[in-house]
């Protein structure tokens, strides 16, 4: 067993849990909206779910900003590429919505949903990798 390559054990805030909960809420909101297709769903419930998801995402970002010492290079490397990938995926889904002539409040809500979704995942992936890396580890290592 070799532990010398591991980052020292350290209590970290629940960044992943918070981001995954945010992701689950936007997915739940999306399912609620989709369940009413092709009619428009009543918006208060999805607005509530997505607002809660936005609050959790904001809390996640605050937790990240208060981390201090962390393998930020690795976090930026992983989350940066993941963000690029998930922006493409979210863009594809937004494109489908536009092709299907989704407009108005529903389009706005779906856009916010996709934005939160595309931000949550890079944070989960970046943090999950960086938490096990040495502080200051090079992205090329």
């Amino acid at each position: 067993m070799s532990d010398s390559g591991a980052a020292p054990a350290r209590k970290l805030p629940p960044v992943v849990e918070s981001a995954v909960a945010s992701m689950a809420l936007v997915i739940a909101g999306g399912i609620f909206l989709a369940a009413y297709l092709p009619r428009q769903a009543p918006l208060p419930i999805p607005i509530g779910l997505i607002s809660l998801a936005a609050v959790l995402l904001a809390a996640t970002v605050v937790m990240l900003t208060r981390l201090g010492e962390f393998a930020w290079n690795r976090f930026r490397q992983v989350s940066g590429w993941a963000l690029a990938a998930y922006l493409v995926i979210a863009g594809m889904l937004e494109y489908v919505l536009l092709v299907d002539r989704t407009r108005g409040a529903l389009l706005l809500l779906m856009t916010v949903t996709l934005t939160i979704f595309a931000l949550d995942i890079p944070i989960v992936l970046g943090f999950s990798v960086a938490r096990h890396q040495e502080v200051g580890s090079s992205p090329t290592a």
């Binding site: 067993m1 070799s2 591991a6 995954v20 092709p38 092709v99 995942i121 989960v124």
Partner: protein, 204 residues
């Protein structure tokens, strides 16, 4: 599957024998043009509302997604669990980078083409109680997405980055691999529900 999930501490330098950190690839760059071509095909199919192409992308993408999930979760996962640690590391360094490209591509292709196909065929307008089958498919996909994106994929990536270290932490790799195998098994079982729902939708 419980017998397959055991902690196997990585012996010192177990990974160094055949898999050096320099050989561990996170994203296989050679696969990116293929992914790009598939996504372009998807965009063109949606823009042109090509029913045959949407059907092809949804059936082929969904079949591969379901098949790979079932195969990895219920066949490959237990086999990996019974492998020696060096063999497991060797297999993971070659297998997991490909999954990083293949699975997200299959998921986006299946979902985007499926939604468009359902709209074009009028499946979205089917009244309740049959509409519950659609809702059930959304819920199953939603739960699988949370498990895959929140647990499985982070474990996959963390293992790959750990393997790139000069001296990988064997306990950490065992823990993350156990999570990968369990979550792959859960999504594999959930894919059986998807197969039942999709068979029902295709024949109503």
């Amino acid at each position: 599957m419980a017998d397959a999930i055991q902690d196997f501490p990585l012996p010192a330098n177990a990974a160094a024998g055949r898999v050096t950190p320099a050989r561990v690839t996170i994203i296989p760059l050679a696969g990116l043009p293929v992914v790009g071509a598939v996504l372009v095909f998807l965009v063109v199919a949606i823009a042109g509302n090509w029913l045959w192409a949407l059907d092809f992308l949804h059936v082929a993408g969904g079949g591969l997604w379901t098949g790979i999930d079932l195969f990895v979760g219920l066949v490959i996962g237990p086999i990996i669990g019974r492998m020696s640690v060096p063999a497991r590391v060797e297999f993971s360094t070659r297998f997991m980078p490909k999954m990083v490209l293949i699975m997200p591509t299959l998921v986006i292709v299946t979902l985007a083409s499926g939604l468009q196909l359902a709209r074009a065929l009028g499946d979205l307008a089917v009244p309740y109680p049959n509409h519950w089958w659609l809702v059930a498919s959304f819920v199953v996909v939603g739960v699988m997405a949370v498990i895959a994106l929140g647990l499985l994929e982070p474990a996959n990536l963390a293992v790959l980055f750990e393997l790139k270290k000069p001296k990988p932490n064997g306990l950490l790799i065992a823990k993350l691999m156990r999570r990968f195998i369990y979550t792959a098994g859960i999504t594999g079982v959930m894919q059986i529900a998807t197969l039942i729902i999709m068979s029902r939708l295709a024949t109503w």
